[in-house]
Symmetry: C2
Subunit: 354 residues, 2 copies
């Protein structure tokens, strides 16, 4: 079954309102979550609501959160997320960075005391839509990535997103976990009883494995991008540490390696980093966009390995999916649909998905 | 044979002076090149002098280059490298970004009309030494990386470096090409007659191969970090495009995908990006450093897969090498030594390496 984008988004908003979220916060949060589903990033869409539901019931999300600016300069702002979900706090953070970058040329919003904020790409796209460059990162709650050369997981999937305006409506938009594969992909292989490709995971003893149950059930870890020493996993590992420095160390949030990680009395103390740069600092914005567009078009024109799969630039796959889903609706798997229905029934929320 | 660091550096400086480089420029350039050798980054050290020698003889390097600031704001500067080698221009760029970041909190120096600048890590380390975060990238001259899913090479190895101050004298210092493996590693396998590990390269038809001659002799390409579609090579590809946007598109330099790339009448029009962030924008610098130090120490304490190989943080391998080479001297392979001797004899320069 596939509800329209409008109904899909309205369902998410209705649930958030049902949980007692402030109306404006719920509207923004639903926008970010539905954006992920629309763009095919299902791991960060409706499926996250089951996780939020559990955390809300345990009293670990402040639905009345009022994020506030705790420190400010012409180029920067430090925001406390007030233990709420990260989405609407992150819109405030990105809007603030955009506004400051328009005034002085570049700016950073650093966010602490936040939680899961959905897909990074939503926020970098905000910058691109304003003819600006965006760079966004976040820490994570789940410790599931071993450092290169190490046995135990110490890090998260620590995403990085970068956007730049080029062709109208088609910004370059990179949004990547710093792991070889997302946990969701490993779980899917596990559910299908299939082996994972080489390099996706290691056992709890740090040995390479192709058995997804090692990660799903037996305490193994995801690998940093690169997948193995010979594949240069020290690079993915390095990028993950960079993300933790830009997010947690800069904002003063709990380190993922701290004994206090996930043991905060209230909230999760997840941290985010939002940076915006105005290319107009260096040249005319239209010249900059023309070069990004030229680079994009030349890359797309590369002879593909498989003639049925044209070379793309970052952002293309998600745009294609969004166009398709805006027309045909957003499909929701049967298992997830039943979980959402149960939440709606339990919390006495209107049902809008069918 | 292994000359002392001092003699090694003096030899490089003497050659540059012999080529007619301005004395202050030669001193700085030799410092950057010798830094790479000292830290074990041999691909960016003395070995680059043979490449520079060829370019100089072809009249493609302006040894009298006087880099100049062509545009400036409180947070930014655009520098024209005057078709010289990139090293001393890049020191000026990083010093300028550091100075502005100390004043306002963050800054970017964008450089155009430059050339090879050595190892990125030299410049990010400059930021860390001043208690600042550094982010540096560069475009490259050689087109040798195929986009994910593509047959032909379109991009360079497009490096990214990031540093942050933590433990005294031990900053986190990531310096990575956005490819799976550097070209030098492929060439070494070729020279030894050994196969490359899976995922390092593709043939000129875009097919995975473990035969290094495919890249060295037959027009094949290096892979973006990730190495294959299943290894998420779209991520390394995306990072390479990000580097090109930050360097070439921002500074208005020739795109690597342009027909004019490497066909400039004079110089190479390589571009660089230098960004500096003051953590003091968000919190006390000592608290920031303590968190980076804690993160670093916890990661180093991870149980290693191989008990003889402790887990490291980015920057550790190079620091160990620098300590060793400062004590024992910098080894230079016989082949390279003969090439340098020939240059010295040809250009009537003093010989200092023995």
């Amino acid at each position: 079954m596939a509800a329209t984008y409008q109904n899909h988004r309205a369902q998410i908003e209705a649930i958030l309102i049902g949980w007692g979220m402030l109306p404006e916060t719920a509207e923004q949060t639903a926008e970010v979550i539905a954006w992920a589903d629309l763009h095919g990033i299902d791991s960060h869409g409706l499926s996250t609501m089951t996780m939020y539901h559990e955390r809300w019931k345990k009293g670990r999300i402040n639905m009345q959160a009022q994020p506030r600016i705790v420190r400010e300069t012409p180029v920067s702002v430090l925001i406390d997320g007030d233990a709420g979900l990260g989405h609407s706090t992150s819109i405030l953070a990105m809007e603030t960075a955009i506004s400051k970058a328009k005034s002085i040329g570049m700016a950073i919003s650093s966010v602490r005391n936040s939680a899961h904020f959905g897909a990074c790409g939503f926020y970098t796209e905000m910058a691109a839509a304003e003819n600006l460059i965006g760079l966004v990162s976040s820490t994570t709650s789940i410790v599931q990535v071993a450092p290169a050369g190490g046995k135990e997981a110490q890090l998260g999937t620590d995403p990085i997103s970068f956007s730049a305006p080029g062709i109208e409506g088609q910004p370059f938009l990179l949004d990547m976990a710093t792991t070889t594969a997302a946990f969701g992909k490993v779980r899917n292989k596990f559910n299908e009883g299939l082996p994972t490709p080489p390099g996706w995971l290691v056992t709890k003893d740090g040995l390479p494995s192709r058995d997804p149950s090692e990660v799903v059930e037996k305490g193994g870890s995801l690998t940093p991008l690169g997948g193995s020493p010979e594949g240069s996993d020290h690079k993915g590992y390095g990028l993950a540490v960079m993300a933790n420095i830009l997010c947690a160390c800069l904002s003063g949030s709990t380190l993922i390696t701290s004994p206090m990680h996930m043991k905060q009395p209230y909230g999760q103390d997840i941290s985010h980093f939002f940076m915006v740069i105005d290319p107009g600092l260096f040249r005319d914005i239209e010249d900059f966009r023309a070069d990004v567009a030229s680079l994009s078009e030349t890359l797309r024109a590369t002879t593909p390995m498989d003639p049925s799969k044209p070379v793309m630039i970052a952002g293309d796959p998600e745009r294609h999916k969004a166009k398709e889903r805006m027309e045909k609706g957003i499909p929701v798997g049967k298992g997830l649909l039943e979980k959402i229905r149960a939440i709606v029934q339990e919390d006495e929320i209107p049902w809008l998905l069918e």
